[in-house]
């Protein structure tokens, strides 16, 4: 088992990542891990270390950092709003114990997780307990009265290491070691920016923006596997000023490797010719469905949805399928979405945007990243999927 100091760096990485998530606001900015208090199991083994932390915002807090892999996680928790002052707590414990005259006999004192995560101060003489006082209440923790087979009551001591099921502890150790292996390379590379927590410096070193972390974002890939390359959709500008539907259908058919030019698609959709073009009337919206199916030799199953919802676009993109989107007077292809998860966390209306391959302007087109969902009217959506055999 690595010694306790070896977990300081991965713990600092965990704290830095927590800080990047802004779950604690800016309270962790500027925190450095100083000296901590070792918390023991009832059986005398080290369990974790409780480290007082205070960032530039001046909010007192403490972090529990594992010393024993059986805890299952490196950073076990961060408690905000409570100052951890080991010396002051020991003084209070001695005063409480003094009433019981225990401290006169004690030759050592330590903090013990008597019923994890509840902690007490244990007074020892010649290695034997003479008092165990619960933290802050300073009530004596009762000695064991139950048989080993019974579960502990609400205020009773039990050993984390000796009484948790062996299989459960083994799983915790494996999970802990896997996490250490995961974080070690990051810690080695970024020691200078995690030992004193600094969100901006860490993101700068990682080469990512905060926005990357705060948005649920998905774009079309080669497959649904995240590691596959993208984009897999090519922008096609409309070849006349009224062929937005033809260009949109072309982009989707291209995506599925059916290659047609817009002149051919115009014949199918009734959009005239290059020299005498026309748009697609409302009465023939469904021609998009029939064209997608016909020109893919029925390999594509297309569907027209009136007033498509956000979830329709999101779910199709997650399934790696582009969607033709009609807005009043125009047609485009949706190839991705983004949604602010952070805004949701703080109960504000999230920003939602679509990645749109827009065939306008003619012969060029633009890729819109992002189109504000809240400011547009989505009248029809055309989904298509490969027919399963």
């Amino acid at each position: 088992m690595p010694d306790s100091e070896s977990f300081r760096t991965p713990a600092a990485v965990e704290l830095s990542l927590l800080n990047v998530s802004t779950e604690f606001g800016d309270d962790l900015e500027g925190v450095s891990l100083g000296a901590g208090t070792t918390i023991y199991d009832l059986n005398g083994e080290e369990l974790f270390e409780r480290v007082p932390i205070e960032g530039r915002a001046g909010v007192p807090a403490f972090a529990d950092i594992a010393r024993n892999p059986a805890m299952g996680a490196i950073l076990m928790g961060v408690s905000r709003g409570i100052r951890w002052d080991e010396a002051a707590l020991l003084q209070q414990a001695r005063e409480a114990a003094g009433v019981r005259k225990a401290q006169r006999e004690a030759d050592s004192v330590r903090f013990v997780a008597y019923s994890f995560p509840k902690v007490a101060v244990q007074f020892l003489a010649d290695g034997k307990e003479i008092a165990l006082l619960e933290l802050w209440t300073w009530q004596p923790v009762p000695r064991r009265r139950r048989s080993k087979e019974d579960g502990p009551s609400n205020f009773e001591r039990w050993s984390f290491l000796d009484e948790n099921p062996v299989d459960d502890l083994a799983k915790r150790r494996a999970r802990f070691r896997a996490r250490v292996r995961e974080l070690e390379p990051i810690g080695d590379r970024l020691t200078d920016v995690v030992m004193t927590i600094d969100r901006a410096r860490l993101l700068d070193r990682l080469g990512i923006s905060l926005n990357d972390l705060l948005f649920d974002t998905r774009e079309l890939h080669f497959t649904t596997r995240n590691g596959d390359h993208h984009p897999c959709l090519e922008l096609r500008g409309q070849e006349t000023n009224v062929w937005c539907v033809g260009a949109s259908v072309q982009m989707v058919l291209d995506f599925y490797r059916y290659q047609y030019g817009q002149v051919r698609l115009a014949q199918e959709l009734g959009l005239g010719t290059v020299s005498n073009p026309n748009g697609l009337p409302h009465s023939r919206d469904n021609d998009v469905v029939t064209t997608l199916e016909k020109l893919s030799n029925q390999s594509l199953d297309a569907t027209l949805t009136q007033n498509p919802t956000w979830n329709l676009f999101r779910d199709e993109i997650r399934a790696n399928r582009p969607v033709i989107s009609f807005v009043p007077g125009h047609s485009r292809v949706v190839a991705g979405y983004t949604r602010s998860t952070f805004m949701t966390l703080i109960n504000l209306t999230p920003f939602r945007g679509l990645l749109v391959y827009d065939p306008w302007p003619p012969n060029a087109g633009v890729i819109t990243r992002w189109e504000n969902w809240a400011t547009h009217s989505y009248t029809q959506g055309f989904t298509s999927h490969v027919t399963l055999v």
Partner: protein, 170 residues
């Protein structure tokens, strides 16, 4: 009507549009490569009756227009778009004089071109410069310039459309 229509001079209104576009970039809503280091050049969008329809804020790197941020009349973010490749010539989209040059070949004998204004065709997504054609035989013709392309606007393409709620998809 928004505050910038009534109370603010054009420079102040443009500065507010520029600030709103910069804010959209900072918030991650406008993903245009290089936008942080580019110039933001706002141009007001008008509907044909003259009312403001928002702002087109060009993202300009030297002489190239890499993309644009479109804002509503209230400066609300609507979209951010990029052109493919190395973008388009900035003047084609931002200089009314250059727009008139692009439109000129479609003027017929006896016609002259009016003052171009940035607008759109049917849908705000279909943005471009409208150039009115003036002349006894013009019949109210309008040209639209989108970058280096120019074409005549035909609002009759869906006249036979039985759907009464608006134009077809063009």
């Amino acid at each position: 009507m928004s505050e910038d229509e009534t109370d603010l001079g054009p420079e102040v209104a443009a500065a507010r549009a520029r600030d709103a576009a910069a804010d959209a970039i900072a918030r991650g809503w406008a993903r245009i490569p290089g936008a942080d280091a580019s110039d933001l050049v706002p141009v007001r969008i008008h509907v044909p009756t003259g009312e403001s329809a928002g702002w087109f804020v060009g993202v300009v790197d030297g002489a190239r227009l890499m993309g644009f941020i479109q804002l509503g009349p209230d400066l609300g973010f609507e979209r951010a778009s990029t052109f493919g490749g190395t973008g388009q010539a900035a003047n084609d989209w931002l200089d009314p004089g250059r727009v008139s040059e692009v439109a000129a070949p479609l003027a017929r004998p006896g016609e002259r071109l009016g003052e171009p204004y940035l607008s759109y065709d049917r849908s705000p997504e279909r943005i471009g410069w409208i150039v009115p054609v003036i002349g006894s035989e013009s019949g109210g013709r309008q040209l639209m310039v989108t970058g280096s392309s120019v074409f005549e606007l035909h609002h009759s393409t869906t006249e036979d459309d039985p759907e009464p709620k608006g134009p077809g998809r063009v």
